[in-house]
C-alpha cells in the first residue's frame, strides 16, 4: 500500500456535490493522495467539473483547471509546455476526464498527445455514459445497457470501445486499468505512472448509482464484481507491447455483476449469453498475452 500523505488534512474534499455512492470521488481522493500537492488537474466538462464546487469554491487541494469538452488533452499539453518553459518540470499534469471526453469528444486530441507522447498523466474515470447530462450513451457504454438514448427495445447494440488497445497502438509508455474496489492496486498504479515520463493513461471504472440504476451502497461491490466477473479486467500495458494482468480474478459469471444494476434489467437471455461469451473470449486473449514477449495483436475482440 502506498502510504497516505494526508493531503486533505485542511478540510478539502468535503462538501462536494457528487451523488451518494459516487465512484469518481473515491478514485480522485486516492489519486490526489498519491500524487501529492505538486499536481495540476486539467478537467473537461463532466461530472467531475460540476461537482468540484460552485465558483469561486473548489474541493480540490491542487490547481483545478476547467477546459472545454473536446480540448482537455490540448489544454493539458499547453499547461505542460508552460511548466517546462518556466522550469517547473517536477509538477505532474493530470487530466481528469470522464468517458465522454475520453472515448468520444476528446478522442482526437487524446490521440494527438499520445502520438506526440506528451508528458501527461491522463486518467479517465469511466462511468460508461454521459451521466452528468442525464445518462446518454457514449462509446464507453457496454453492450446491452439501458441509457436514455438507448431505451428499452433499442438497448445499446454495439460493444464498448476498447480504448486501452487504441492507445496501446500509439505505443505510449504506460497504460493501466484500475478499480476503486482494489484500492491498493489503484494507488500502486498511480504511483508507478507518476514516475514515468511521457503519456500515461489510466482507465478506472467508476460506478455511478443514478446512471447504473444501482443501490449507492453497492458501488464498491460492483467495482469489485466487474473485476471478478472479468467485465473489467485489471491489467497494464507497457510501451504498447507488454501486457501484464495485475489480478487473477475468480471468473465469476457475469450475471452476478449484471443483476445488481437496473441498466441491465432489459437484457434477454441471449444477450446475457453474448456478454458472457465475449467476456470469456476477451479474458482468454488477455491471458494468452499476459507477460508474453510478442507484440500485441490489434484486434482483441471478435464481433
Amino acid at each position: 500500500m502506498i502510504e497516505e500523505k494526508g493531503i486533505f488534512s485542511g478540510g478539502e474534499f468535503c462538501g462536494h456535490a457528487s451523488c451518494p455512492g459516487c465512484g469518481e470521488k473515491i478514485i480522485l481522493r486516492h489519486i490526489l493522495d498519491v500524487l501529492g500537492r505538486k499536481t495540476i488537474i486539467v478537467c473537461p466538462a463532466g461530472c467531475a467539473a460540476v461537482t468540484d464546487g460552485i465558483f469561486p469554491h473548489s474541493i480540490s487541494p491542487v490547481p483545478f483547471m476547467h477546459t472545454p469538452f473536446d480540448a482537455v488533452a490540448s489544454c493539458a499539453a499547453g499547461v505542460r509546455a508552460g511548466l517546462e518553459m518556466s522550469g517547473r518540470s517536477e509538477v505532474t499534469v493530470m487530466v481528469w476526464a470522464g468517458d465522454g471526453a475520453t472515448f468520444d469528444i476528446g478522442m482526437g486530441a487524446l490521440s494527438a498527445i499520445a502520438e506526440r507522447n506528451e508528458n501527461i498523466l491522463y486518467i479517465c474515470y469511466d462511468n460508461e455514459a454521459y451521466m452528468n447530462t442525464g445518462i446518454q450513451r457514449s462509446s464507453a457504454t457496454p453492450f446491452g445497457s439501458w441509457t436514455t438514448t438507448t431505451p428499452r427495445g433499442r438497448l445499446k447494440s454495439e460493444p464498448k470501445k476498447d480504448i486501452n488497445f487504441i492507445l496501446a497502438s500509439h505505443k505510449i509508455p504506460y497504460i493501466a486499468t484500475a478499480s476503486p474496489a482494489f484500492i491498493d492496486d489503484l494507488r500502486e498504479k498511480v504511483n508507478k505512472a507518476k514516475e514515468i515520463t511521457g503519456l500515461r493513461f489510466l482507465h478506472v471504472l467508476s460506478p455511478c448509482p443514478p446512471g447504473w440504476k444501482s443501490d449507492p451502497k453497492d458501488s464498491i461491490t460492483l467495482a469489485r464484481l466487474a473485476v471478478e466477473c472479468n467485465v473489467f479486467p485489471l491489467f497494464e500495458i507497457e510501451n504498447g507491447e507488454r501486457i501484464r494482468l495485475s489480478y487473477r480474478s475468480q471468473s465469476l459469471p457475469v450475471t452476478e455483476y449484471l443483476d445488481m444494476q437496473g441498466r441491465f434489467r432489459y437484457l434477454s437471455e441471449e444477450e446475457t449469453e453474448t456478454i458472457q461469451s465475449r467476456t470469456d473470449e476477451y479474458y482468454k486473449t488477455l491471458n494468452s498475452l499476459h507477460e508474453s514477449e510478442q507484440p500485441l495483436r490489434m484486434t482483441m475482440r471478435k464481433e
Binding site: F8, G10, G11, E12, F13, C14, G15, H16, A17, S18, C19, P20, G21, C22, G23, E24, K25, I26, R29, H30, G53, I54, F55, P56, H57, S58, I59, S60, F64, H66, P180, I183, P209, D215, P216, K217, D218, S219, I220, T221, R224
Partner: protein, 546 residues
C-alpha cells in the same frame, strides 16, 4: 471552515475564474436519509468461552505478530492457556463462523501454541507487593488457582490451601498424563503461583477449620466435586469395585498400578469414564465400558468419544449394572440388564428403561465406577448445599459473609474453563467486596455476530489440504509462522479490526481515523451506505431512522 463567498460588486470578482475557498461550508450531511453507526458485536468464540477469554482479541494481536501482547490478553481472563489448550472442549471453535466457509479457526491449537510460547519466552511483570487485605483460597484446582491468581495480581495477600501435595487439583490428579503431562503442567502452575503462599496437605475440615479462617478478610471455596456417586446396587462395596476418580488420582500421583491382562469394566459415559477407560487400557487392561444410554447421550465431549472409539476398548451401550458378586476364584461376576430409551427426563436426554428379562452376566477382575461426582461439603456441619446452587444460609455465621465459591461446587458444567471463569469472577467479587461494592450481573444482552454479518467477499477460502499439512503435519506442534497464518484467517466477527475499508471507500471523506477507531463526520456523510456494506466483519450498520 471556509465561508460561502458572495460577490457584491464587479470589483469583488477576480480577473479570471479562480477558486477562492473550499466547499466545506456545504454540509452535505443534510442529504442523508440513513446514518452509519459503529456497533461492535460479540464474536461467537468470545461469547461461548466459559472462561471469558477475548479470543478474537488475541487472534488479532497474534495476526500482527504481537505474541507477547496476545499472551498477556489471554492472561487477563485465563491464567492457564497451556492447560486449556490441551483439555478445554473448545466451544469457541465449534461456533466459529468460519466453519461453514472453509474450516473453523483451530482456536485450541492457537491457545496451545500461546501456552507453550508462554512457558518458554514469557517473563511475567513484577507483582504488586501484597497489601493489607488477606484472602484464603481453599482448593488448588482450576477455580482456586484462577481466584488466587487474580487476587494476587491486584495486590491481595493470598494463601492457597490444598489437601494434596501438589497444586493443580483435577489437573494434576484427575486428567491423565496422555492428555496433560504433569511436567508441562508444572511450569504453568509455577507461573500462576508466583507470590502466593501454597499450603499443601491442608484439608479444610480435617487439618484446619473455620477458626483458622478468621484472620482472612475473604475466603474462596473451590474444593470441586470428588465424591463418586453411588450406584445403589448390591455388591458395589466389594473390594474389587473402585472409584474411577481415585484410580486416576493414584496413577497420576505416580503410584504403580498394574492391570496387565486383567479384565476391567468401567461403568459410566462421561469424561471421567473415558479417562478411566483409556488410562486402564494404557496400563494393560482388557477394558469394556458400560453405559446405560447410547453414544448420542454420552455426556463426554465429542472429541473424547472419538478418541475413545479409536482405541481397542469395548463399548457396551444400553446396559446398566444390577448386581456385582464375588466368585470363588476372586473374580467379580457382574450382572447387567439391557435398557431401552424412553421419554426424555429433566436433562432433556431419553430416560433409560430396563428391558424385563434381559439380564446377562460379565466376568471381570476390577470394576471402576465413573457415573458422576458430587461436591463433598462435609466440612460444614449442615450439608452446605441444597439442590442446585450453593446454600450460603447453611454456612457458619463467622464465614458466611466473606465466603465466595466457584468451580465444580456451583451448578455449572464441570469443565476446566468454567472453573477458571468462575474463579476469576469470584476474585472480581472479592475485590469489589474489599472496596465495599457489589458486582451486579450485566443486564445488557450480547448481540452475537452471525455468519450473515460477515462480508465474505473479503475473505479467501484456504486450500484445506495445505492447511492440514501445515497445521497438523508436525504432530500438533506449530511454530510462530503457522500460528500467525492461522490467526490471519480470523473473520474478526462483529469487531472492527481497522481494515480501513470504511475510510478508503467513503466518497465524501466523512470517515475520520481517530485514536479510538473510525468516526463518522455526520456534517458530510450523505448516507450512501458503502462503509457499512463494505465492512468485512459487520461492525457498522445503517440506521434508517437517520
Amino acid at each position: 471552515m471556509s465561508k460561502f463567498i458572495v460577490f457584491k460588486s464587479l470589483d469583488d470578482m477576480p480577473d479570471i475564474a479562480v477558486s477562492k475557498a473550499r466547499m466545506d461550508w456545504n454540509k452535505t450531511g443534510s442529504w442523508r436519509s440513513s446514518t452509519p453507526r459503529r456497533e461492535d458485536k460479540t464474536p461467537p468464540c468470545n461469547f461461548n468461552c466459559p472462561a471469558g477469554e477475548d479470543i478474537r482479541g488475541y487472534l488479532d494481536l497474534l495476526k500482527h505478530g504481537k505474541i507477547k501482547e496476545a499472551f498477556e490478553l489471554i492472561l487477563q481472563t485465563n491464567p492457564m492457556p497451556l492447560v486449556c489448550g490441551r483439555v478445554c472442549y473448545h466451544p469457541c471453535q465449534s461456533q466459529c463462523n468460519r466453519e461453514n466457509f472453509d474450516a473453523a479457526i483451530d482456536i485450541r491449537l492457537m491457545e496451545k501454541f500461546m501456552g507453550e510460547w508462554g512457558l518458554e519466552d514469557y517473563t511475567p511483570p513484577g507483582l504488586p507487593s501484597p497489601g493489607s487485605k488477606k484472602a484464603a483460597v481453599i482448593g488448588a484446582g482450576p477455580s482456586g488457582l484462577s481466584a488466587a491468581y487474580y487476587l494476587r495480581r491486584e495486590g491481595v495477600n493470598v494463601t492457597l490451601f490444598d489437601e494434596n501435595e501438589h497444586p493443580g487439583g483435577i489437573l494434576y490428579y484427575g486428567i491423565p498424563s496422555y492428555r496433560l503431562p504433569n511436567d508441562l503442567l508444572k511450569p504453568e502452575l509455577d507461573r500462576i503461583l508466583q507470590g502466593i503462599a501454597f499450603r499443601s496437605r491442608k484439608r479444610f475440615g480435617r487439618d484446619f477449620g473455620i477458626g483458622e479462617l478468621e484472620k482472612y478478610d475473604a475466603v474462596f471455596l473451590g474444593t470441586g466435586a470428588h465424591k463418586s456417586k453411588v450406584m445403589r446396587i448390591n455388591g458395589e462395596d466389594l473390594p474389587g469395585v473402585k472409584s474411577g476418580l481415585d484410580f486416576l488420582k493414584k496413577v497420576n500421583s505416580g503410584e504403580k498400578v498394574f492391570l496387565d491382562g486383567k479384565d476391567v469394566i468401567v461403568i459410566g459415559g462421561g469424561n471421567t469414564a473415558c479417562d478411566v477407560a483409556r488410562t486402564a487400557y494404557r496400563l494393560g487392561g482388557n477394558v469394556s465400558m458400560m453405559y446405560r444410554r447410547t453414544v448420542a447421550e454420552m455426556p463426554a465431549f465429542a472429541e473424547e468419544i472419538e478418541q475413545l472409539k479409536s482405541e481397542p476398548i469395548k463399548l457396551e451401550f444400553l446396559v446398566a449394572p444390577s448386581r456385582i458378586e464375588k466368585t470363588g476364584d476372586g473374580k467379580l461376576k457382574n450382572l447387567y440388564i439391557r435398557m431401552k430409551l424412553g421419554e426424555p427426563d429433566e436433562s432433556g436426554r431419553s430416560r433409560p428403561v430396563p428391558v424385563p428379562g434381559s439380564e446377562f452376566e460379565v466376568m471381570a477382575d476390577i470394576v471402576f465406577t465413573a457415573i458422576g461426582e458430587d461436591p463433598d461439603l462435609s466440612f460444614f456441619d449442615s450439608a452446605g448445599k441444597s439442590s442446585g446452587d450453593f446454600d450460603f444460609a447453611s454456612v457458619d455465621k463467622r464465614l458466611r459473609d466473606k465466603l465466595f465459591v466457584g468451580g465444580d461446587i456451583l451448578p455449572n458444567p464441570r469443565t476446566v474453563p468454567h472453573a477458571v471463569g468462575s474463579g476469576r469472577l469470584a476474585a472480581e467479587k472479592i475485590l469489589a467486596f474489599f472496596d465495599g461494592e457489589k458486582i451486579e450481573q450485566p443486564k445488557s444482552i450480547a448481540v452475537v455476530a452471525g455468519p450473515d454479518d460477515i462480508n465474505l467477499r473479503y475473505f479467501v477460502k484456504v486450500n484445506l489440504d495445505k492447511r492440514r499439512k501445515n497445521l497438523y503435519g508436525g504432530d500438533g506442534v506449530i511454530g510462530e509462522a503457522q500460528a500467525i497464518e492461522e490467526a490471519n484467517r480470523c473473520f474478526s466477527c462483529g469487531v472492527c479490526y481497522s481494515c480501513n475499508n470504511c475510510y478508503n471507500f467513503c466518497p465524501d471523506m466523512a470517515v475520520i481515523k481517530s485514536s479510538n477507531g473510525y468516526q463518522i463526520n455526520l456534517d458530510y456523510c450523505k448516507g450512501c451506505g458503502i462503509c457499512a456494506n463494505e465492512c468485512p466483519c459487520g461492525s457498522l450498520r445503517m440506521d434508517e431512522a437517520g
